[in-house]
């Protein structure tokens, strides 16, 4: 698609038991793009995210981030390469405070034993905390930095997770259903916030079911169904694509006659 993609997947394949959850998936994310990855429930979107962030090893194919092959790297090294992600169900650390959760996102930025052993909230490390607080404020999260994350509203936690993912200075930010569970106002705010993020040069790849959010945020879309790529192109044309419509709404054929058709 693009001459200089930030991320390129070629023939990415993954099987669980007999089920092929990612079947020869190839696509590229153009540098600086805001791209959506959509598909019906169970299409393999989260699996693809897990493959890209290294939760599972690939059964075939390769993943190239900014010219470097990453699918053989351990999961923890990919964040330092510029790939950062959020999670479908909020995965904030329940016993860390808001600012500590955000500071965890800086972990990959720390270098050497000296950084590891510097207190992160006082002395020389105070800058880590100041930076995290600044980012929280810049994202419009008006909660006390030492508040307990468990007590915060869903929308706020969702946003904190995005800020945490941003703290690693990613080149590619992958968000797994960032708008799920948000009310329309929060969704609009999130969309505006992500556009600002993208304007700073961060490429976005977003899994999302809320299509109005996708239409608002993403100019490009890829669609998965049964682990296969079925559409790649502009978002505005996605609902006119016959294959996509069928993937979402099902085929129109059905046998309604009685009798047992069971497996």
């Amino acid at each position: 698609m693009a001459a200089d993609p930030i991320l390129a997947l070629s023939n990415v394949t993954k099987r669980f038991g007999g089920l092929t959850v990612s079947d020869q998936v190839s696509f590229a994310v153009p540098r600086g793009a805001r791209m959506a990855l959509i598909g019906p429930n169970g299409a393999g979107k989260t699996t693809l995210f897990n493959l890209m962030s290294g939760v599972y090893p690939l059964d075939g194919g390769e993943i190239v981030l900014d010219g470097a092959r990453i699918d053989t790297l351990p999961s923890r090294k990919r964040i330092a390469m510029g790939l950062s992600r959020s999670f479908q169900n909020i995965r904030l650390m329940p016993h860390l405070s808001v600012v500590e959760n955000v500071m965890l996102g800086q972990h990959a930025q720390a270098s050497g034993i000296g950084d590891l052993l510097t207190p992160i909230s006082w002395m020389r490390g105070g800058r880590w905390r100041r930076l995290a607080v600044e980012r929280l404020e810049a994202a419009g999260i008006a909660v006390h930095p030492d508040a307990d994350v468990a007590s915060l509203p869903y929308g706020v936690r969702k946003k904190i997770e995005v800020v945490r993912a941003l703290m690693s200075k990613p080149r590619l930010l992958m968000l797994d259903e960032p708008a799920a569970g948000l009310n329309p106002r929060e969704t609009a705010e999130l969309s505006a916030f992500l556009k600002d993020v993208a304007a700073t040069g961060v490429t976005l790849l977003v899994v999302e079911h809320d299509m109005s959010f996708v239409h608002d945020l993403c100019e490009h879309t890829v669609v998965l169904n049964f682990g296969k790529l079925i559409y790649e192109g502009p978002t505005r044309a996605v609902q006119d694509d016959e294959a996509v419509r069928e993937a979402y709404l099902g085929s129109r054929r059905v046998e309604t006659a009685g009798g047992s058709h069971a497996a």
Binding site: G42, P153, S212, Q239, R245, Y248, V254, E255, A263
Partner: protein, 259 residues
């Protein structure tokens, strides 16, 4: 009406997953609940079976208020749920899984009914003494449905039964649901395969963000553009609901501040 739900609310902490949903299912009727992921369909079913408490509203089954009953109590009143992801017990054999389906029954007909299941599903019969973990996805779904059938349900609720099945198996699954319907079983079906679900159902409801936004006869819903919009967004020219469709039921003002 067999199942009557009025103004049902479900909350997880501060998340309002189901907002004032009202619906009903008749004695021998198939009703389907449609909507994109995260619309609150699974939460609705879990609340109907009692796996999560209702934060508000009332559920009546066969004329009895079951809103505060535990899942086993609801099962004993013959309301059964086939959960999302099938939830087969992989350390139990196929046969034992079926017997667990009849756990709440105390009549003597279990053995006969299990044999009936084996007649219906020869694949399960052939694997009856194997651990359920060796079954394929389609067979597991058959086992999950059979397990629910052995509770002798009057209403069976299914949560995305076609998830993860190949198109051929999906077709067989809906064939089975069609024949169960023809045998007189009432079904409340949550599905993502919209067209198939609307073929087998007589009525449908569409949920968005926890509320029912559209409902009507299946035939009318099938050709409604608003339905496609619920899945694929509103960038397409917005269509006003077709004439025969009712607007969503008035929601209690306390539960829904959303436009």
């Amino acid at each position: 009406m067999l199942l009557e739900v009025e103004g049902l609310d479900v909350r997880y902490g501060r998340t309002h997953a189901v907002r004032g949903v009202s619906l009903s299912v008749g004695q021998d009727e198939v009703v389907t609940v449609l909507g994109a992921n995260g619309a609150g369909k699974t939460s609705l079913l879990r609340a109907l079976q009692g796996m999560v408490p209702a934060a508000g509203g009332q559920i009546r089954f066969d004329g009895v208020d079951i809103t505060r009953m535990s899942p086993p109590q609801r099962l004993q009143r013959h309301l059964a749920l086939v959960p999302e992801g099938r939830q087969i017990m992989i350390s139990l054999s196929v046969h034992e899984n079926l017997l667990m389906g009849a756990y709440c029954r105390h009549d003597g007909g279990v053995a006969r009914d299990v044999d009936g299941i084996y007649d219906r599903f020869p694949n399960l019969a052939a694997r009856r003494h194997m651990p359920a973990s060796v079954l394929s996805g389609g067979e597991q779904q058959m086992l999950a449905i059979s397990r629910a059938l052995l509770a002798k349900p009057r209403l069976m609720m299914l949560d995305e039964p076609s998830l993860g099945l190949s198109p051929l198996l999906v077709e067989r699954l809906f064939g089975l649901l069609g024949s169960l319907r023809d045998e007189g079983l009432a079904i409340l079906l949550v599905e993502q395969n919209t067209q198939m679900a609307l073929e087998v159902a007589s009525r449908g409801l569409v949920m968005e963000l926890g509320s029912v936004v559209l409902q009507g006869p299946a035939d009318d819903l099938r050709h409604n553009d608003r339905l496609a919009a619920a899945y694929l967004g509103h960038a397409a020219p917005a269509a006003t609901p077709a004439a025969p469709l009712s607007s969503p039921p008035a929601t209690p003002p306390s539960s829904n501040g959303r436009a």
